[in-house]
């Protein structure tokens, strides 16, 4: 992108953001010459008529082949050595001895992405047993999911129970759910190897959830509602009623009283999760239909209102700054931005984040060393992969982050639509919004930016396998 385009893109975005945030401010923002003023809709019908139709390319073996390529290519690409020069404690690094024997998820930029890359190839092989990369997938799985690898993982987690909690934990359990329901001799062996780690993580997560006083409402992977959704994916498949109950109790305790979600503040800058939709999606799964509808009516502004507008589409090319974002939607959380503000004057760009679960240097987590608890804020700053600001790995580009948002929104819209009564007028609207976002997200996967973000393919697969996803 040329500098001129960047600047124009910037101006468009800031004007758009202002228009969205303060639709009725006394001082009307200047209209954006490149975009017609957003029309007002008098009701849901009028809004529905305004929405373009969208076609989502369904998952088939050919598409699946593409979705296996990124995980296969990243699983053995070692997570980067931390690069920053700390203020006080000066590190000397070496890799864990025999890392390929005592660790399982050491590639793909960060741990959670390595886990969900593994999930992706397992899931696709189960669905398409004749996929041409079958042999290659089994080879990778055998290398990474050996007994000693998982024993090493468990040993590590016993000393670092907060590492990658809760998002990475949810993905590990999702992986275990797929392995444990795979009728395949190799699969049974992998499943046995992963089982002790899965049990340890499930137990520690339950303690974590019971004690969680306040949800994280950030717009990235630390978002509590978002992680709870993945946990339910696991417990639905593995029939782990203890986790189902813990998720359900936690969601109700944390979210039931919420009303009038601040949709107008979302997506002011690139972010991967819609806090409002993620919360509605998890509530759609833990409440029965009448209770959900009553809650949803109080919680979500009508789709045709200006307040809801930021949730109606994603512009993949919105910001070209490479900074990622937490935006206004992220403000509910204690976690400092995975994003770092722009460098002032000639200052160097944000350094890569610390690796592993070593606390990042103070500045990297928003000057928050020490006073930031390791299990939420620290994890956020240290969060690799989704949400930007990876440690070790490349910073997610804005385009990749928007693509992620399109896919996670598509999933949430689909789940909400499914939970509403069939006669509810919102069902068709939400399905359409799901299709619009899914089509955008799947388009975004072919962008070069996506190759640095292997988790995007995982999100696409995860969405496409959501019941009733697609057109």
């Amino acid at each position: 992108m040329s500098l001129g385009n960047t600047v124009r893109g910037w101006m468009a975005v800031s004007l758009m953001a202002v228009a969205v945030i303060v639709p009725s401010a006394q001082e009307k923002p200047k209209p954006d010459p490149q975009k017609p003023a957003a029309p007002e809709f008098k009701d849901l019908d009028a809004f529905m008529k305004s929405l373009p139709s969208a076609t989502v390319k369904p998952l088939d073996q050919q598409a699946a082949l593409l979705y296996t390529a990124l995980p296969l290519a990243c699983m053995d690409d070692l997570q980067a050595r931390p690069a920053q020069r700390p203020y006080f404690w000066q590190p000397t690094y070496r890799t864990v001895e025999n890392h390929d024997k005592v660790r399982a998820f050491y590639g793909c930029n960060d741990w959670s992405t390595a886990v969900n890359a593994t999930w992706t190839i397992v899931t696709l092989l189960k669905k398409y047993p004749a996929i041409p990369v079958e042999g290659l997938i089994r080879e990778k799985l055998t290398d990474h999911l050996g007994r000693t690898n998982l024993e090493g993982e468990l040993g590590y987690f016993k000393n670092a129970p907060n590492f990658q909690r809760p998002y990475g934990h949810a993905w590990l359990l999702k992986l275990y759910a797929e392995l444990s329901t795979w009728k395949d001799p190799d699969g049974a062996r992998y499943s046995d190897n992963v089982a002790p780690l899965a049990r340890f993580i499930a137990d520690s997560l339950i303690a974590y959830l019971v004690d969680l006083d306040r949800p994280v409402k950030m717009a990235g992977q630390t978002n509590t509602a978002f992680a709870l959704g993945f946990l339910l994916d696991y417990s639905d498949i593995a029939r782990d009623t203890t986790i189902t109950r813990a998720v359900s109790d936690t969601a109700k305790r944390l979210f039931l009283a919420d009303t009038n979600c601040a949709t107008e503040t979302e997506a002011a800058s690139p972010e991967m999760v819609s806090p409002c939709l993620a919360e509605a999606a998890i509530m759609s799964r833990v409440l029965d239909q009448p209770a959900f509808v009553a809650w949803f009516d109080r919680f979500m502004p009508p789709a045709f209102t200006p307040k809801f507008r930021p949730l109606t589409t994603v512009d993949l090319s919105a910001v070209g700054t490479g900074r990622g974002g937490r935006g206004r939607g992220g403000r509910g959380a204690g976690a400092p931005a995975a994003t770092t503000p722009p460098p002032a004057t000639e200052a160097p760009p944000p350094t890569t984040q610390a690796q592993g679960d070593r606390p990042p240097a103070a500045g990297e987590r928003g000057a928050g060393a020490g006073a930031v608890p390791p299990d939420s804020a620290g994890a956020a700053a240290a969060a690799g992969g989704p949400g930007g600001g990876g440690r070790g790995g490349p910073q997610a580009s804005p385009r990749a982050t928007w693509t992620g948002l399109a896919l996670t929104r598509a999933d949430a819209y689909t789940r909400i639509a499914k939970a509403l009564p069939a006669t509810d007028a919102r069902v068709a609207v939400y399905r359409r919004l799901a299709a619009i976002h899914a089509a955008k997200g799947i388009d975004g996967l072919t962008d070069p930016a996506a190759f640095d973000a292997p988790w995007l393919g995982t999100f696409a697969v995860s969405y496409l396998l959501t019941p009733t996803a697609g057109n």
């Binding site: 202002v18 945030i21 923002p29 070692l78 920053q84 020069r85 006080f88 404690w89 000066q90 590190p91 690094y93 890799t95 864990v96 890392h99 660790r103 050491y106 741990w111 590590y156 000393n159 670092a160 006083d213 109700k252 039931l256 009283a257 503040t265 002011a268 910001v319 974002g325 937490r326 992220g330 403000r331 509910g332 959380a333 204690g334 400092p336 770092t340 503000p341 722009p342 002032a344 160097p348 944000p350 350094t351 690796q355 592993g356 679960d357 070593r358 240097a361 103070a362 500045g363 928003g366 000057a367 928050g368 060393a369 020490g370 006073a371 930031v372 608890p373 299990d375 939420s376 804020a377």
Partner: protein, 405 residues
């Protein structure tokens, strides 16, 4: 929740608050949660004020100053915590930098910004209470940390350190320097001269930083843009800095002047130590003229008696006791003082006759009382920094006191 935790929480609440102030959990307590909140809300401001418990704000005096000074004294030479966790793939061994006692200044008090604001606490207290029995000890510590070579080492590091400690730690450098520069004391004048190059560089960097920021950070912790600006204004009020002030004013207007309906109902997040809505309002009260501010704040903050504002009227329950959550808990303890501090500031910005000012001062007192009760509950996670927030709170309280007398 365990029974002991529950009992402890109840005791804490009974001790300082009238029973009508709902336990935060009560808001989540069931399907009727939302309805319950609204039925307990007051009809209007005077009904709200009547319903608030009376509270006597903790005030700064010499015994309190001595107690507060012990905390920074105890941490200023205790080096930052070494990274405790093993790496997942990359393991590290750590050593301190060579000769750090001569080449660095802010290596104590758990982390960099806490070390800077701890020195601010010491300077602030010794200026107010020159006869403090520990005054010579304080000077000895400051002398050791703020020597020329130490500050030169800091500047050299910061120039290589990218986003490290921006904006929060940088704001504290400016506040500390301002406090020292304004101190008529021969030693202080020497330290001020040592700090000057660091402060000038910091100021220039921050002016550019706000200008380049596409969106403010609206969180409740270190990265908060409004709080960084707010703290820097404290420094600028003492030591004039037109360029930085212009950047703050211009960019605060760009970020915030069109804001409305601040989402008070979602405060606080689990590790917030500042109130995003109150801090933004307090900041704007310092950069807009009064009529402009009064118009703006009416659309920005919900009415104080409204259900949406209720989370800001109640000191946060900090009863959780898991050892791995102490850092977050320390944030919520400090939050009481930060809210109190900005409430005093907001009260000052309102006309004396405005009933909201009375409500804000009462709320600030309630928060201060609660904060003092929980002050030590997070151990070193709290004591390495909260003293500064107590001092800022008490200074706000005392300014209010003088203003209303």
């Amino acid at each position: 929740m365990t029974r002991t935790t529950l009992i402890r929480r109840l005791v804490i609440f009974a001790a300082c608050l009238a029973p009508f102030i709902a336990h935060p959990r009560a808001q989540h307590a069931g399907a009727g949660g939302a309805a319950k909140v609204s039925t307990t809300a007051a009809k209007d401001l005077s009904a709200m004020l009547t319903s608030l418990p009376s509270a006597t704000a903790p005030v700064l005096d010499q015994p309190q100053a001595l107690w507060l000074a012990t905390m920074p004294l105890a941490c200023i030479d205790r080096p930052h915590a070494a990274p405790a966790a093993r790496g997942y793939l990359w393991e590290a061994t750590y050593r301190p930098p060579d000769d750090y006692q001569r080449n660095l200044a802010f290596y104590g008090c758990y982390d960099w910004h806490s070390s800077v604001n701890s020195m601010w606490t010491l300077v602030r207290l010794i200026k107010s209470y020159p006869d403090l029995p520990v005054a010579p000890l304080i000077k000895q510590k400051l002398s050791k940390h703020l020597d020329k070579s130490n500050i030169e080492g800091e500047l050299a590091y910061l120039k290589t350190a990218g986003q490290f400690e921006r904006p929060y730690g940088y704001a504290w450098i400016l506040k500390l320097t301002a406090e020292i520069s304004d101190w008529k004391d021969p030693d202080a004048q020497k330290w001020a001269a040592n700090m000057a190059p660091l402060a000038q560089w910091t100021s220039k960097e921050m002016a550019a930083y706000f200008k380049a920021l596409p969106e403010p950070n609206r969180g409740g912790a270190h990265m908060s843009t409004s709080y960084g600006m707010y703290l820097m204004l404290d420094a600028i009020e003492v030591v004039k800095d037109d360029a930085l002030r212009a950047s703050i004013v211009e960019n605060a207007m760009r970020f915030y002047q069109n804001d409305k309906d601040c989402d008070t109902k979602i405060e606080p997040a689990g590790t917030d130590y500042l109130s995003p809505c109150l801090t933004e309002a307090a900041l704007m009260s310092r950069i807009m003229d009064r009529p402009q501010f009064l118009t703006w704040v009416d659309t920005f903050l919900p009415p104080m008696y409204a259900p949406a504002f209720k989370p800001l009227t109640e000191p946060v329950d900090t009863g959780g006791s898991r050892p791995d959550r102490l850092a977050g808990k320390s944030h919520l303890i400090g939050l009481a003082f930060q809210r109190g501090q900005v409430m005093y500031r907001l009260a000052e910005a309102l006309p004396a006759s405005d009933p909201r000012a009375t409500v804000l001062r009462r709320l600030a007192a309630i928060h201060g009382v609660k904060g003092m009760i929980g002050m030590h509950d997070a151990g070193y996670y709290g004591t390495h920094w909260i003293h500064t927030y107590v001092v800022m709170y008490m200074m706000g309280q005392s300014r209010t006191e003088q203003g209303t007398r």
